[in-house]
């Protein structure tokens, strides 16, 4: 069973897959992902040139497709190649800017074209995935806003040109109301970045904002609309990450089956043993369930509750299954699965990272319960 692929989508998938297969061997990928920048400016530019960033956006947003299925398709392909380029940041930054209206068209265009790199900074040291937990303050001034506070584990923040930030205009630290969403140029005065390497390659960073002065038009949304925008952007992250995880799981599935069929012990391929066959099939069936959950989410229904439920269901399923796939793939590979040299270890680490981005399994279970009133 597969995503419903139209001719255009098939071409898009072909383009991405062929490009990535060309550019990335696992050692090349690791050189890039574990480098000082965590990605390759050159490959990013080439991919943007091919229209792969623009595929994440609708025509109104300056892209050319941008439906839920397209986003899922792009990220699944990126997952299969374990691509460390800042696509997630582009998707989320672009969607935030698009919500901000016409005055952000220039920045939006520069994101869609890939000319500028985007990052979103929602997480804080104490927030533990809760989007409404915002201690960073935004104070209204005569000339705009002053931002003060810290943001934690911001993906690709060092590489970013534009950063989307949640800050509090009023109320208490856990209130859903009183928030503001701001678009910030990364080189603005008072913004400091402490950049570090991630477990699976790629970079993230801690963001410190000290009296960062923003013009009034930096505000993308405030009041109820601000929290709604946070949820919308997080929803795109749930879909993209779930689809990326699916791509990774497919790779681990095939490489593990291949290994079981090749590796000889006791004079036979170990894939002949029933214990391993059943273990492998159960894993494959879990991945199929995860695929169905992602397809369910890809339709991005208009009804907000239905949409959020499907997205949380997908992210939860992918988080639980992804962790299991990561562990099982390594266990079934045996010692060799633990080595840096084998691709399996790097794919496994990315799955674990995805589990923790934009809400882990427990977070999404609680959210699903909240949404569905179980």
């Amino acid at each position: 069973m597969d995503f419903k692929l139209t001719e255009d989508r098939r071409m898009l998938e072909d383009t991405i897959s062929r490009f990535l297969a060309d550019k990335y061997s696992i050692s090349k990928r690791n050189d890039i992902a574990y480098s000082e920048t965590g990605h390759s400016a050159q490959i990013w530019a080439e991919m943007a040139e091919l229209g792969i960033v623009a595929a994440l956006f609708t025509e109104i947003e300056g892209g050319f497709v941008g439906q839920g299925f397209d986003i899922a398709l792009v990220f699944e392909a990126l997952g299969r190649a374990l691509c460390p380029e800042p696509f997630l940041g582009a998707l989320l930054t672009g969607k935030a800017l698009a919500a901000g209206g016409a005055e952000h068209a220039d920045w939006l265009n520069s994101i869609v074209s890939g000319e500028k790199i985007g990052a979103v900074a929602f997480e804080e040291d104490q927030s533990h995935y809760q989007l409404q937990h915002v201690a960073t303050s935004a104070t209204k001034t005569a000339s705009g806003y002053l931002i003060n506070g810290n943001k934690a584990v911001v993906t690709h923040v060092e590489a970013a040109d534009i950063i989307i930030i949640s800050a509090r205009l009023s109320g208490n630290v856990d209130d859903q109301s009183g928030l503001g969403i701001f678009a910030v140029a990364a080189d603005i005065a008072g913004l400091e970045i402490q950049d570090y390497a991630n477990v699976e390659g790629g970079r993230s960073g801690q963001l410190t904002l000290t009296n960062v002065a923003l013009p009034p038009e930096a505000l993308l949304a405030e009041g109820d609309a601000a929290f709604e925008l946070l949820e919308t952007i997080a929803g795109y992250a749930h879909l993209a990450l779930s689809a990326e995880a699916l791509g990774i799981m497919e790779v681990l599935k095939f490489s593990t089956i291949e290994f079981l069929n090749l590796r000889q012990q006791f004079g036979v391929p170990i894939g002949k043993f029933q214990a391993l066959q059943h273990r492998m099939v159960e894993l494959v069936l879990d991945i199929e369930q995860a695929r169905s959950a992602v397809i369910n989410a890809s339709t991005l229904p208009c009804d907000k509750i239905d949409r959020a439920k499907r997205l949380s269901a997908a992210k939860l399923t992918v988080s639980a299954t992804g962790t299991k796939v990561a562990e099982e793939a390594i266990q079934m590979h045996g010692g060799i699965g633990m080595t840096w040299e084998m691709p399996v270890s790097h794919f496994a680490k990315r799955l674990v990272m995805i589990e923790h981005l934009f809400g882990d399994e427990d977070y999404h279970l609680a959210r699903y319960i909240e949404l569905s009133k179980v």
């Binding site: 069973m1 059943h278 492998m280 069936l285 199929e288 369930q289 939860l316 319960i369 179980v374």
Partner: protein, 392 residues
């Protein structure tokens, strides 16, 4: 597109005119229409609904018209199913003839066999049972011993089957019989059809832990089966059996019976109570039910995609094992949740006035889901070898 809209309108109109009101309510298990010579209709409406649907060929909408079917294409089948669902119309007829023998005959039967047997299935005249497992041939089905001795015009069939669903209520049986004793295990089996009223056939229901007796032991003592009742030629039985098992697994995995059941959330809310936000009072059960619902949602999507795939004329083949495994595991989880929700009271077998309690019986019945039609372990082995191509 216009044709399709026209068809939808016509179907909707016809169903509204012809589906009796009492056939638009949820169907309890004891009101399923199985058809057959001896079938006791629960109401005139049930009989009327069957006859009207059969006359249009809509008990088997996908089969060709000349065999009693509706001759509908994939899109039309989907519309019929949707429109029936829209008015909660009950399934007019359910049978092993529809789900299993029919597809096998369509694929392997002679034209004469199709013209003879299929219309009787479509109309509900003849109820079929399936003679597969034997006391010493369960998961290792191809080791069956029931023998068909060549007596010229006919085979003389002697042996025993077990777990034959509704053998005591069926009119005819489709049966795996070893007719080629000298051939290799899988090559010596033929697929025979015969009347359960034939001389030498007897059945004995098996009482199960659920208190039900769905399954029978079935005995054959020198039963004469005319040679024209063989489907697909001598020694072809295993090929047909495998094809048919795939259908059975699709049916079990995708059965509305498994998933048409109670809404576990509503059940839990009523039994355990909710807080001021409408959420279950028991936070651990709440989390378990949420996980279950999320899994069920994914499986429903999987099922919907699979049905579209099959309506487009594709066959699942060995992948039916996937549907069977996932579907039955989920149903067993569902039954376990229902028991957990019910607490101690869920274990009550019958009330003081001897009314049977369904909850523990359905839970116990569900234990058979991962055994019948091929065990879950056999499903995993099939998927490993046939789909993942792991070595055997």
């Amino acid at each position: 597109m216009q044709d399709i809209d026209h068809f939808r309108a016509e179907v909707s109109h016809w169903l509204n005119e012809n589906c009796p009101k009492t056939m638009r309510t949820p169907m309890p298990d004891d009101e399923i229409c199985w058809g057959g010579r001896e079938f006791a209709f629960v109401s005139d409406d049930q009989r009327l609904w069957l006859n009207r649907m059969a006359a249009r060929g809509w008990t088997v909408p996908a089969w060709p018209k000349k065999y009693g079917g509706g001759g509908l294409n994939g899109a039309q089948q989907k519309i019929l199913a949707e429109q029936m669902q829209a008015i909660n119309a009950r399934s007019p007829l359910q049978s092993f003839g529809i789900g299993m023998l029919g597809p096998a005959l369509l694929e392997f039967g002679s034209e004469a066999q199709k013209l003879h047997y299929l219309p009787q299935i479509a109309s509900g005249e003849i109820r079929w049972c399936q003679g597969y497992s034997e006391p010493d041939a369960g998961s290792d089905l191809a080791s069956i011993k029931t023998a068909g001795v060549d007596e010229g015009d006919y085979f003389s069939v002697t042996g025993q089957k077990i777990w034959t669903s509704y053998a005591d209520k069926a009119d005819w049986i489709f049966c795996l019989v070893r007719t080629e004793p000298d051939a290799k295990k899988h090559k010596g089996i033929s697929f025979l059809l015969f009347d359960m009223t034939s001389q030498g056939v007897s059945t004995k229901p098996i009482e199960l832990i659920s208190g039900e007796s769905v399954f029978c032991e079935t005995f054959f003592d020198a039963v004469k089966v005319p040679k024209q009742n063989i489907v697909g030629g001598r020694g072809q039985g295993w090929t047909i059996a495998k094809y048919l098992l795939n259908h059975e697994r699709e049916m079990i995995g995708g059965s509305d019976l498994l998933f048409g059941g109670a809404d576990v959330c509503a059940l839990a809310s009523a039994q355990i109570g909710v807080d001021e936000n409408g959420r279950l009072n028991d936070s651990i059960l709440r989390a378990e039910l949420a996980k279950f619902i999320i899994d069920e949602m994914a499986f429903d999507a999987h099922l919907a995609m699979t049905k579209n795939y099959m309506r487009a004329g594709n066959q699942l083949g060995a992948r039916s094992a996937e549907l069977k495994y996932l579907g039955t595991e989920l149903n067993q989880q569902r039954q376990n949740h229902i028991m957990a929700i019910g607490g101690l009271g869920a274990l009550i077998w019958s009330s003081h006035n001897n009314q049977t309690h369904q909850t523990p019986r359905q839970w116990l019945r569900s234990k058979a889901n991962s055994i019948e039609g091929g065990t879950s372990e056999i499903m995993l082995s099939i998927l490993a070898k046939a789909v993942l191509k792991m070595p055997s």
